[in-house]
Structures are given as structure tokens and as C-alpha cells.
Symmetry: C2
Subunit: 325 residues, 2 copies
DNA sequence: TTGTATGCGTTATCAT
DNA sequence: ATGATAACGCATACAA
């Protein structure tokens, strides 16, 4: 296929002039510009971007690290990211890693290899120390509160939000409170676990090992929780459920077995998902869309402004009162 | 940062030798290899992949065109794609286009610009003729049956599947059948519309404009359908619903208003989603995961085998009988 | 087995 | 306003 040299030859100008036309530089006469554009059109020429990336040292791409695409939590963060990336004319490379350290390091190596201009980490299995090593290669922004390690982050306080939810249940008179979540060793999950343990201890509420249920990933997992509850000698009277879709599964299945919500069981969801609105699930909104949008903006400011001063931004959560508590 | 030249200088060998070590070529003595690896380690050297892409003419990346990431349909196809891409050591670039022709052309231009090695189109607003123009730049595979236009495709027959569903409802004794779907002018939707119109005509079933409902995107849209049904002077007694999550919204809301499913209203979903299993929604499985997996394999065979002969593969659907019809 | 020289396609630099 | 040429970092044909 044609290259810039050939265009120059046919148009009867230098490669520099062609390059100038290509990049909308000033200082090129309108008649020469016309000739060049004409030839480009005729030969259906387009740039080999790899050459451009090589010499400019930029690629116009940002990688996003997340464990699963197919999850409400991450897909809504992605929407925020995508919206801002579009505005900034940046390309997003979505990297689903399944919490695999190896996969995540591959992405960071892409940054080192100059294949991308920056990385947004929505959730990670990597330690802050390892991530910090890569900041010399380009801007890195995380959507987790992993402390101040030399790279920017925007996050919600999962600990505080969860405590807030527990307090809400407590204020509504509930004392026997259970909790279920996705991955037991996910980072946000560990914050919620701490909040759960500490709140129960402070208020001297009853703790049962079996009231903590993990590995809930979809609606069916939620339904399974209902099954489990039914077999318990002593049941919780309220459940904190990380993810409205899980809560939905729980609620639907519980009702199937004649339980009334919130009469027999109060359910508090998290993340304000569409299914939650439908079932009128009381939930905690965590501004996930804004989290994604802000993360991209932070990257963009860093790569343009050249400011290497990291920013740490906390997003506020809020409880949406509906009818399952 | 260090480049191959510097490594060569410090290691006391030629750049060729360094390159050979980098690419695991034979014909390099073990002692020189050791020295090179040592220096690479010490200087923390990694290749500038843009240079590699430039000279090799390959990037190891494939773009995926789809309208929305945040949709069950597409995310499950993505999982199939991701699985195969991982095996083949290929990177996936997910391009959410919102059915924007402009955005989709941008992706095809990436292929032209050598930024990617191929394109998988899951859903598109582009015509087959336009897509065909780009096949000279690299392998293109679509997940739609758009006829034989010189590029491979793997697809389910939305028309046949939908007819099959209608026939199932018909066999169960239903005559007043409604239909709801997402985007009215989505490509799969148009097949379903044809199937709907033609089936009704053939069987001389009653047709009401208001029994066709579009723009259903999430659980809440499904709930809205229930509201609409209630206001109709004459209601359908069965609904074909494109997407189990929409069907879920419809069913939940309908039950809220005292309707029995399938007694007062039979509901047939599509796509065999988790929420559908939970609510025991009768549905049509379309092998979406396999569609994604097969699409990637086709790309990979084409770029390796060099075979430019397009493949057209149809996937079979099947009805999963549960309890909403 | 190793090295030299050339080229990939573009932009940056500097001269005019 | 325009052009010649260097430079980006790497892989590879060819020579040794």
C-alpha cells in the first residue's frame, strides 16, 4: 500500500509537506495542500499508525484493568470511562484479568512497552508497591483507595458505605444481621468484611459464621442464599447484600418460599442497579459512573498538563430508601 | 530508556544477537545469550512494541465492534471471544459504538492504519458492501448473517429462532401474541419483526400495532411493558420477549398487578440468561458464547493459514422449556 | 554462530 | 512556505 513517500512523489512535493498536510500544520500553501489531498484521495492512502506511534512516543490508547466485564459494577464504571475517553479522542483497551496477577502485569508491561499511554485500574490483585514501580512509564489511575503511593486514585469508601448501611438497618430495629458478597478476597469485599465484624462487635450484635456468605456472582447465587437461610437453625432477620442483582435473586427466591420482605427478612442492596429499582430494593448508591469518568479525566490531565502530582479523590455514597428494609 | 543498541553495546555483541535472544531464535551461543539476558535484566530493558509492529506489520491485536458492552447479549459473546483470544495470545480491543456508523468506520480504519490485525463485528450499523471494502486490509469476521460478501461470519438465524418460538406458543394454544424487543432497527430485531409479521399472517392471527413494543433495554423497560399491557382495551395472552432480563421485568411487574404467569399471560424469553433460569422463564438459547469463540477462531485461522476463503457457519438454537408458557 | 547494513513509515530538525 | 535529512527502535537479508 502507498506510503507518504509515494504520495510526495506523485504530488510533486516533499514528504515533509505531505506530513504537514496530514497533521493540519500551518505554513503550507493552499494549492499544494489541494494537490496532496487529491493524491491521498486517489491512492486511498492512510497513515501507518505504528510509525506515528514510534516517532511521537504516543499511542492515543489507555488500558483498563478489571476482573470481569460481565458484571454490573464494572460495566457501569466502564460507561463513565468510555464517555470521557470519547470526548478526549482516546481509545480504551479493556483488559479482563480475572484477578490474575500475571494478566495484570501484562497490561502494565504494555505501558512499559509504549503500547499504551496510561492505565486505569478499576480493580486489581496487585499490591500498591508493584503498581508504583510502573508510574515512571506513564500515568496510572486506580478506582480503589489503596493509600497514597504516588499514583492518582478515585474511590468510594466501601468500609464507610457498608457501615452506613449497617447503621441504617440497626436504626430500623434490626439486630440479627447477615451479610453476603462476591469474592471473599476481593479488595472492596475485605473492607466490607472489616466493617461487618467491627460494627457487630461495637453494637454487641450476634455473630454467626454461617450468616456470612461469599461467592455470590449472579441472580442465581442470590436465590441460593435464600435456600441456605431456610436451613439455618437460627436465621438473620436482615441481610446486607453486595450487589442489587444478588439481592434480587435472594428476594425473589425468599418470596417463593412464603417469606415476606421486609417483614420476615429485610434486604439491603448495594450499587443502585436497575433490577433494584424494579424490585424496590433499598440500596446504597456508590457513584460508579462518576468514578469511571473521573478516573479518565485524571489520566488525561496528567498526560497533558504533565503534572506528576497524584490526586486522591473520595466519592460520597448515599442510601436510597425503598421498600425492602 | 534503553534500546536494543545500548544493550548490544554494553553486552559487547551486535544488535542482531540481541534481537535473536529477544525472539528466541536458535543459532546464538549460550554464553552470549546469558550476557545479553543479564544486561537486559540490569537495564530493565523492554522492547518498544511500536517499532516491532512497524517492521513486522503485525500488532497482535483484534478489535471487536459492538453497540453496548453493558448488555447480556454482547457480554456473553465477549466471553467466548476473550477465552479464545487468551489461548491464541491475542489482545482484544473492545469498541463500543452505540450503532454509530462513524465510530464503526473508525475501527475499520484502525485496520487500514495497521493498528490491529483484524476485526470481529458482533453487531453493526454498516452495510455488508462497506465492510467488504475493508477485507483487503485484513481478516474481518461478523457475528451476523449478512449474506456472502467475501468475509467470514458465524451467526444464529434470528428469523428461524423467533418463528420457532412463535410456533411453540401457537402449539400451546396461544393465538393473541405480542412481541417486544430492543432497538427497532437493530439487525437481529428486523429479522424478528419479519418473522412476527409473517407468522401472524400465515396463521391468520390477530395483529395489533400496540402489541409490538420496542426500545426495551433493561429490567425496568420490561416492567413498563406490563404497565402498557394493563391499559390496553384488548390484551395479548402471550408475549415473545427478546431478552430474558426484559421478560423478567415484565413478569415481576405483571405479578405485582395480580396477573398469573402463564395463566393470564404467557411469556417466552430469548437468550437463556441467568435471571431467566431463576424465574423459570421459558426461553430460546442461541449459543452466544460459542458464537464469540467461533468468531475468534475464524479470524485466527485466516491470519495464520493465510486462507482468504471466507467461512459461513450457522449455529443452531433450541427452546428451553420452563414454566412461563 | 555472529555481525553489517538496510529498511519499515513517519515526524522532527534545521536549513533555505 | 518548502525541502533534505536525521531519527525513532527494531527485524532481517546477506555476508562472513
Amino acid at each position: 500500500m502507498a506510503n507518504i513517500k509515494e504520495i510526495a512523489r506523485i504530488a510533486g512535493v516533499s514528504v515533509t509537506t505531505v506530513s504537514r498536510v496530514l497533521n493540519n500544520h500551518p505554513y503550507v500553501s493552499s494549492n499544494k495542500r489541494a494537490v496532496v489531498l487529491e493524491t491521498i484521495e486517489q491512492l486511498k492512502y492512510t497513515r501507518n499508525m505504528n510509525a506515528v506511534h514510534l516517532i511521537t512516543g504516543r499511542t492515543g490508547a489507555v488500558a483498563v484493568i478489571l476482573p470481569y466485564i460481565n458484571s454490573f459494577y464494572f460495566s457501569i464504571v466502564m460507561e463513565g470511562l468510555a464517555h470521557e475517553a470519547l470526548i478526549a479522542q482516546y481509545r480504551l483497551i479493556v483488559c479482563q484479568t480475572n484477578y490474575s496477577r500475571e494478566e495484570e502485569l501484562k497490561v502494565l508491561d504494555m505501558l512499559r512497552n509504549k503500547e499504551i499511554d496510561g492505565v486505569v485500574i478499576v480493580s486489581t490483585a496487585l499490591t500498591p508497591e508493584i503498581i508504583a514501580e510502573y508510574t515512571v512509564y506513564g500515568p496510572i489511575v486506580t478506582c480503589q483507595n489503596s493509600g497514597k503511593h504516588g499514583y492518582s486514585s478515585v474511590y468510594t469508601e466501601h468500609y464507610a458505605a457498608f457501615r452506613h448501611g449497617l447503621q441504617y438497618l440497626y436504626d430500623k430495629g434490626h439486630r440479627k444481621i447477615g451479610y453476603c458478597d462476591g469474592r471473599q478476597n476481593g479488595s472492596s469485599s475485605s473492607f466490607r468484611q472489616s466493617a461487618y465484624h467491627e460494627f457487630l462487635a461495637e453494637k454487641r450484635l450476634p455473630f454467626h459464621e454461617e450468616w456470612m456468605i461469599f461467592d455470590c456472582v449472579n441472580e442465581e447465587s442470590g436465590a441460593a442464599i435464600a435456600q441456605q437461610l431456610l436451613t439455618m437453625p437460627e436465621r438473620p432477620e436482615a441481610m446486607m447484600v453486595a450487589g442489587d442483582h444478588i439481592a434480587a435473586g435472594l428476594i425473589i427466591e425468599a418470596r417463593k418460599h412464603g417469606m415476606s420482605i421486609p417483614g420476615d427478612l429485610a434486604v439491603m442492596g448495594i450499587d443502585n442497579q436497575p433490577i433494584g429499582r424494579l424490585l424496590e430494593i433499598t440500596t446504597i448508591d456508590n457513584q460508579l459512573y462518576e468514578m469511571g469518568a473521573a478516573a479518565f479525566r485524571m489520566f488525561h490531565e496528567q498526560i497533558n498538563g504533565g503534572s506528576h502530582c497524584p490526586v486522591y479523590r473520595k466519592l460520597e455514597h448515599r442510601i436510597i430508601e425503598r421498600s425492602t428494609v
